[in-house]
């Protein structure tokens, strides 16, 4: 492990230095205020593995079969995951991909079923880029859903970005002609039915106009065949990777594993909580293994995140069928009534995690917020949203 201390006048600058010196893999171990501003302790772990112990170990874990059964891992994947450390087995059995959002990369289009978490994923990626000192261009192509633009605009406004609205291939192309040099591009696509040829045709046209990379946003906890079908349909229409969402709320990850395996789509990122700044992490084999194992751990394990604080039923009491998503047991999203359908929850779920656009922004932004008369005024043109069409 390489460990370094960084001091800078503010967090953004300190983070930029961490990234510049240690790269994107750096882990932030701690931050504290100091006289000059802020101090970050960051570390980088080398991939070199530990020499084998003096004692011969590695007995096949009899609990592994229970774990795979609990997660409803498809039978075809089980032999590959049957023994050895789970993270290493996952690394061998499934494709993983490190999302590179550089200034010269092709635009990234986030696609998926309505409510999958596309908009929140765009917001989180934009937040990550801004924190890294690299302002992205954010485009929403979702002109259909009521409030979709305003939802994303609430985030881009906080980040000091302009949100571009462009839902037609032609306007997307026109908008991209104004791409600032060195700015990564994120495109929030409308929710689509992967089995409707017309909708998929529109999506392909959008991706072609943007000359972009398509990432499928897939909620964890879907039933295995459902997730596999969805991923295959999107892969056939040009999706190149998977962004998994709701890893903190879903209890069974078989659907996710099945999707990645069936469609050969590499796992890239994972939504792990409601926060914009820390709610999305690169999905590594280690992260996935830890979360899978935490579901059957007898006590709150390692990470200390929301998922691991969830009370969980005893493994013996867990249903074995591929049922609807489980009830959430912590009231982090009070508006989210547990539902009984196996598909993504309604938009209200997302909205609960989003900032209320009408809520006051933080002090630095306050000047741009004008008090609104009640009830809600008619929509008016905003400077922080640019309509390209």
């Amino acid at each position: 492990m390489r460990l370094r201390l960084f001091r800078a006048p503010n967090m953004a600058e300190a983070m930029a230095r961490v990234r510049a010196e240690l790269g994107d893999d750096a882990l932030i171990l701690g931050t504290r205020p100091v006289q000059e501003g802020v101090e970050i302790t960051a570390a980088l772990e080398s991939a070199a593995s530990v020499a084998p112990a003096a004692r011969p170990p590695v007995v096949p874990d009899p609990r592994r079969a229970d774990l795979l059964a609990f997660h409803a891992v498809p039978e075809t994947l089980r032999p590959a995951l049957a023994d050895g450390p789970l993270d290493q087995a996952l690394r061998r059995a499934l494709p993983f991909h490190r999302l590179a959002l550089t200034g010269d990369a092709r635009p990234l289009l986030l696609v998926g079923t309505p409510g999958a978490g596309k908009t929140l994923t765009v917001a989180r990626l934009a937040t990550r880029l801004v924190l890294a000192g690299c302002a992205p261009m954010v485009i929403t192509a979702d002109a259909k859903r009521a409030g979709a633009t305003e939802q994303l605009a609430a985030f881009t406004r906080l980040l000091g970005l302009t949100l571009t609205v462009a839902s037609h291939p032609v306007t997307v192309g026109r908008a991209l002609a104004r791409r600032p040099p060195g700015a990564p591009v994120l495109i929030d696509c409308p929710g689509t039915d992967a089995f409707d040829p017309t909708q998929m045709e529109e999506l392909r046209a959008l991706a072609a106009a943007a000359d972009g990379t398509v990432a499928l946003v897939l909620p964890a906890g879907l039933q295995v065949e459902e997730a596999a079908d969805l991923a295959q349909a999107h892969a056939a229409n040009g999706a190149e990777m998977l962004v998994a969402t709701r890893l903190d709320l879903a209890r069974r990850f078989g659907g996710l594993l099945a999707a990645a395996a069936a469609a050969s789509l590499p796992l890239a990122e994972a939504g792990i909580g409601p926060g914009a700044a820390d709610g999305l992490v690169p999905l590594t084999p280690e992260e996935l293994a830890r979360r899978m194992e935490a579901r059957l751990a007898p006590s709150a394990a390692a990470a200390g995140d929301v998922a691991d604080r969830l009370p969980r039923p005893a493994p013996t009491a867990a249903p074995r069928h591929h049922g609807p998503p489980p009830r959430r047991e912590v009231d982090t999203h009070p508006t989210a009534a547990p539902t009984s359908h196996p598909m993504p929850p309604p938009a209200s779920w997302q909205a609960a995690a989003m900032p209320d656009p009408r809520a006051p922004l933080h002090a630095g932004q306050a000047a741009s917020v004008r008090p609104r008369p009640t009830p809600m005024p008619a929509p008016r043109a905003r400077q922080d949203v640019r309509h390209a069409e």
């Binding site: 460990l3 201390l5 171990l29 112990a53 003096a54 170990p57 394990a301 390692a302 200390g304």
Partner: protein, 251 residues
């Protein structure tokens, strides 16, 4: 059924973080709580428990291992501390130089020391094979770190080997020479976060010992902190750690 003592290993990776001092002070604090304690000086290359305490060993560890001398004959009783010491000073070289069979022999000797409730192993600095094996074989591992970055990375290296060798074991982190209790907590959190993220291991905090000038004074006078300065901050911290260890042992 014969009593089997609890083996508590104390490691740090880096030298100079107060490991031997802590082991001695913890031995006295545990002994004061009632159970008989044996302190094994496992830093065989630089065996210095006896030096720190101004004691003169009569027998070498090698004599015990070869069976010429019994464990009871080889241990030294600390007159004020109320605990026993098995010196590591010897012609037998360092733990790293010991062949694996001898390391196992030492471990079984300590495990069989039924006259004691607790055996403390003061392991040497570094990560040699013998140190690594003893850390993994102990019932509890206390890894000592200070707020210095070099100490953090070396303590992390100890935890990394431990995670590999004894993943289900009981390893805890101890912060020594903390400027304040809050600073010690921050040191612990930093190390813990690295363990959780890189090793998927979540070591609990064994305790924080604050930096205290009276520690240096006691070491200089070859005397025990709990005898010389029984009411100072560092003494209170070590006593609290001893209490925490006993509590969880009983549970």
């Amino acid at each position: 059924m014969p009593n089997r003592p609890r083996l508590i290993a104390i490691a740090s990776g880096k030298g100079g973080v107060g490991k031997t001092w802590f082991a001695i002070t913890l031995a006295q604090a545990l002994a004061a709580r009632g159970g008989p304690v044996l302190l094994f000086d496992g830093d065989l290359g630089l065996a210095n428990v006896d030096v720190q305490l101004g004691l003169t060993p009569q027998h070498e560890l090698g004599s015990v291992l070869s069976g010429r001398v019994s464990l009871a004959q080889a241990v030294l009783r600390h007159p004020e501390g109320g605990f026993d010491i098995l010196p590591g000073s010897s012609g037998s070289g360092t733990l790293s130089g010991l062949d694996p069979a001898s390391v196992e022999q030492i471990l079984s000797l300590l495990r069989g020391a039924g006259a004691y409730d607790t055996v403390l192993l003061d392991l040497g600095a570094g990560l040699e094979r013998g140190v690594r094996r003893m850390a993994a074989a102990a019932d509890t591992l206390l890894t000592i770190a200070t707020e210095e970055p070099t100490s953090l990375t070396d303590a992390y290296a100890v935890m990394k080997l431990y995670a590999n060798d004894a993943r289900q074991g009981d390893a805890r982190i101890l912060v020594n020479q903390a400027t304040t209790h809050a600073a010690g907590l921050r040191t612990y959190e930093t190390l813990r976060r690295a363990c959780v993220s890189f090793l998927r291991l979540d070591p609990p905090l064994a305790g924080i010992v604050r930096r205290d000038d009276r520690v240096r004074d006691a070491i200089r006078r070859q005397s025990l902190l709990l005898v010389r300065h029984p009411t100072c901050a560092a003494a209170a911290d070590v006593e609290a750690i001893a209490a925490g260890l006993s509590q969880r042992a009983a549970a």
